[in-house]
């Protein structure tokens, strides 16, 4: 079902189209915004731009051709900027400048790429696969990789997350980076003319460097940011395998990762808010003071690492089987090392929090009401993990979306 709105550029319409892939992203965005929204007292500007970013993410999800995708993609980058610099501290503004420089450059590369594509194949709606010009294909991937935070152009993620308010970091990791990967999936939906060895290597590099740096980072939010870089690189990794099952796993990973990482950032936010804890080194024995928060943090961490029956395991399992089917053993190895690295940078946090010297002081868990979003995220992780195979669950819809791919 699609609608051709106004012809805003000669020959190309503002094209909205509903398909399985778009629906999945939209659903994830809706749920995540609900988890994130109820943060109190951040002022009118925060609320307006939060709503605006949600609308634009829906736009990205339902874009029907490359140029419409670019329209919402660029606006989303700009609309997220005031949220990133919400604290207006000098450090936040500097991070904002970095964010804008990276993201606008990505947008510019995309514009050039789409010009190339439009020149040779016309408006390129997503429904019909088309043979993309190689230059256009490479530039498109380069453009999307800026927001998907692949290694050479990931600089804005570790700077923006610690500065942004916790709910925004949850959104940034959960969905902003996801729109980059989502864009890449759309490109692959159109066609994959050239060999994707380059994409595999870059994705593998990102997974490994992301994991390694995360292990050594002490600032909690920055560590989670590096974890996002490493985890979200699974999607291009799965894409490059050109196998329908791996692709379905990649799509699924966007969704599950969004909830898990969103929950983790919210926990980090609660830790900061209640105890002023910013660094992992300050978290020794903190679980005894905030058992509920740390409990969900632990559960979410296990999910991230991929322990069955949680949702993290499901995505890694589906991607793994896809890679095995396609015989991409190298990618499979990278996938597993990624999971190992996740364990190496998340488990120490859980260990120090629970088994470290008991931190004295009264119970500092936030009120039940503020805990709901975090608990919901944890519940989702469990639910999606256990019920993965049930009909109507994201896995089945992801498989449906992946099946329609030409690639």
């Amino acid at each position: 079902m699609e609608i051709l709105l106004v012809e805003f550029v000669p020959g190309i319409h503002l094209h909205l189209r509903l398909d399985a892939l778009g629906a999945l992203l939209a659903a994830t965005a809706a749920v995540l915004w609900v988890l994130v929204a109820p943060s109190p007292g951040n002022g009118r500007r925060y609320a307006t731009f939060l709503g605006l970013t949600f609308m634009l993410t829906l736009g990205v999800a339902f874009a029907g051709n490359l140029l419409t995708l670019l329209v919402f993609y660029e606006l989303l980058s700009l609309a997220a900027w005031p949220l990133v610099v919400h604290d207006e501290s000098e450090e936040a503004l500097a991070a904002g400048r970095h964010y804008l420089a990276y993201v606008l450059t990505g947008g510019t590369i995309l514009l050039l790429a789409i010009a190339f594509v439009t020149l040779s194949v016309g408006p390129a709606p997503f429904g019909t696969p088309v043979d993309l010009p190689p230059v256009g294909f490479v530039l498109l991937l380069a453009g999307f990789s800026v927001k998907a935070a692949l290694v050479p152009v990931h600089g804005w993620v570790p700077r923006a997350h610690p500065v942004a308010p916790a709910p925004i970091s949850a959104l940034l990791s959960g969905l902003m980076v996801a729109t980059g990967s989502f864009g890449m999936i759309r490109v692959f939906q159109l066609g994959a003319p050239t060999p994707v060895a380059l994409l595999t290597t870059v994705a593998a590099l990102t997974v490994i460097t992301g994991g390694l740096v995360a292990i050594r980072t002490d600032n909690l939010k920055r560590r989670l940011a590096w974890s996002t870089i490493s985890q979200m690189a699974y999607v291009p990794l799965a894409l490059a395998v050109l196998d329908v099952e791996a692709l379905a796993g990649g799509i699924l990973h966007i969704i599950h990762h969004a909830f898990m990482k969103g929950g983790l950032f919210l926990c980090a936010g609660l830790l900061l808010h209640q105890l002023g804890v910013r660094r992992v080194s300050q978290m020794t024995g903190v679980a005894h003071r905030m058992p509920w928060t740390m409990g969900t943090f632990t559960l979410l961490s296990l999910g991230m690492i991929g322990i069955p029956p949680l949702s993290g395991f499901v995505t890694k399992w589906v991607i793994g089987t896809g890679m095995a089917q396609a015989g991409a053993w190298l990618s499979l190895a990278v996938l597993l090392t990624g999971a190992l690295l996740a364990a190496l940078y998340l488990m120490p946090i859980v260990h120090t929090a629970w088994f470290g010297a008991r931190a004295e002081g009264p119970r500092a868990d936030p009120s039940a009401r503020t805990l709901i979003p975090v608990l919901a995220a944890a519940a989702l992780t469990v639910l999606l993990g256990i019920g993965a195979a049930l009909p109507g669950f994201p896995l089945q819809v992801a498989r449906l979306a992946a099946s329609g791919f030409g690639g």
């Binding site: 550029v9 190309i12 140029l67 606006l75 503004l93 190339f116």
Partner: protein, 453 residues
């Protein structure tokens, strides 16, 4: 039925200007608005008639090569933007005590609008020159309307370079007359020899003259001082409309296609030069002035690569840059001085309008600036010259960072006390222009068919 509306379209603003000194200070602005509203009405009517072909009108009844002919073609439809933006500029400054709203000030504004309308309609090279002079002299006067110390010298530099450009253009008109014996544009094109030194000299004269009037890169040195020291409402007219006349003059030059290579490099130089200079400015109006130089570069580049895109950008940039200058005027009016640190917080509507305007001038997709940028990029790739597409995108990226840096200083710094939102008479023109820039962004496709070079 002979289209009498053409001479009427020119007569209304000029007669309005001539009669403006008769009015008092209070009623002069109202008179100005009335005159420009009438001009807008006639221009819109004629644009409607344009659907079934170009409208031509022989003045005095003399058949074409023997008398002066007025033609209303796609480029002349820009007269609607001239009337609209001039009217909004007058509405913006009505009620202020400056020289702009004095009877003589309104007269100068109306004559400038009349000169521009005449320039757009003239199909005769000498009439083109005469109306170019009317709008130029009014523009020199408009720059000097501000009480700032530097306004006099800025206006004088603008006059000196503008007059030199006009003289070179007149020399070229004389050369064309010597070569062809006639002055009517169509007739001259038919009778021009296809080569020879005099033709190249005439062509060179036209190009150099109009490039200077359009403030393309090497010849843009007069623009930043002039547009920065002029009152904001005047800068909106100067940057939005007067500068475009230079480009439209280029489009009227016979044999423009022989200058393909020159236009490419001058366009690229203006694009990049304007953006780089904008990077080092700390005063808002100088930033906007250099951004105009950059966008003129985009239009000149477009003349060589994608003429429809360039023509559309002439209109889009006029609307967007006028909105930005008016918003700057509102900021300066409320802040009392050029230091605009942190006043955005207590002027949310103006800041939002400025932000959307900035997005439009950079060319973020749904807004007006995007259509031109997109089409010229396509043109560059189609012509197999991707380097110009890269220059174009790079300079709009640099401009994006300039505007972002300014928006941060405006809206994210600690607020200043006793700053109120801009008055309604300033807000309505700004919001109208910003809304128009969004609409223009969405009807890019339809606009391209209408222009259809």
């Amino acid at each position: 039925m002979t289209p009498h509306w053409l001479p009427v379209l020119i007569a209304i603003p000029i007669a309005g200007g001539v009669l403006a000194p008769v009015f008092s200070r209070r009623t002069a602005s109202v008179w100005g608005l009335g005159v420009l509203a009438a001009t807008l009405g006639v221009a819109l009517g004629l644009t409607g008639l344009l659907a079934d072909g170009v409208i031509s009108y022989p003045m005095g009844g003399w058949p074409v090569p023997f008398g002066i002919e007025l033609r209303f073609d796609v480029l002349s439809a820009f007269a609607t933007a001239v009337a609209l933006i001039s009217a909004l500029a007058i509405w913006f400054s009505s009620g202020s005590q400056g020289r702009v709203t004095s009877p003589e000030g309104i007269a100068v504004l109306l004559l400038c609008a009349g000169g521009m309308v005449g320039f757009l309609l003239a199909a005769d090279y000498f009439t083109l020159f005469v109306f170019l002079e009317i709008l130029s002299i009014s523009a020199y006067g408009m720059v000097a309307m501000s009480d700032e110390r530097g306004a006099g010298i800025a206006a004088f530099r603008y006059l000196l370079m503008g007059a030199a450009a006009s003289i070179v253009i007149l020399l070229s008109v004389g050369l064309l007359y010597t070569l062809t014996g006639s002055l009517n544009m169509g007739d001259v094109r038919l009778r021009l020899p296809d080569g020879g030194l005099p033709l190249y000299l005439a062509l060179g004269g036209f190009t150099a003259g109009f490039l200077l009037k359009a403030a393309a890169f090497p010849l843009h040195v007069w623009l930043p001082d002039a547009h920065a020291t002029a009152p904001s409402a005047v800068s909106a007219i100067l940057s939005g409309l007067v500068v475009k006349m230079g480009v439209i003059g280029l489009l009227r030059t016979p044999g423009l296609d022989q200058l393909h290579e020159l236009l490419l490099w001058i366009g690229a130089a203006s694009l990049l030069g304007g953006a780089l200079f904008a990077l080092v400015q700390d005063d808002l109006k100088r930033l906007l002035a250099y951004s105009t130089v950059s966008n003129i570069g985009l239009i000149v580049l477009g003349l060589a690569l994608h003429r429809t895109g360039a023509t559309i950008h002439i209109l889009n940039h006029a609307v967007v840059k006028a909105a930005l200058f008016l918003a700057a005027g509102a900021f300066i009016h409320r802040a009392g001085s050029r230091a605009l640190e942190g006043i955005g917080r207590s002027m949310p509507v103006t800041t939002a309008a400025f932000a959307v305007g900035a997005m439009a001038v950079i060319g973020i997709p749904p807004t007006a600036g995007f259509t031109g940028k997109w089409l010229v990029t396509l043109g560059a790739l189609h012509a197999g010259r991707p380097v110009f597409a890269v220059i174009l995108l790079l300079s709009s990226l640099i401009l994006a960072l300039c505007y972002a840096r300014f928006l941060v200083a405006l809206a994210f710094r600690p607020a200043r006390a006793d700053i109120r939102e801009a008055p309604v008479r300033m807000l309505v023109p700004i919001l109208l222009l910003v809304a128009l820039s969004l609409v223009l962004g969405l009807v890019g496709g339809r606009l391209a068919e209408f222009v259809g070079f």
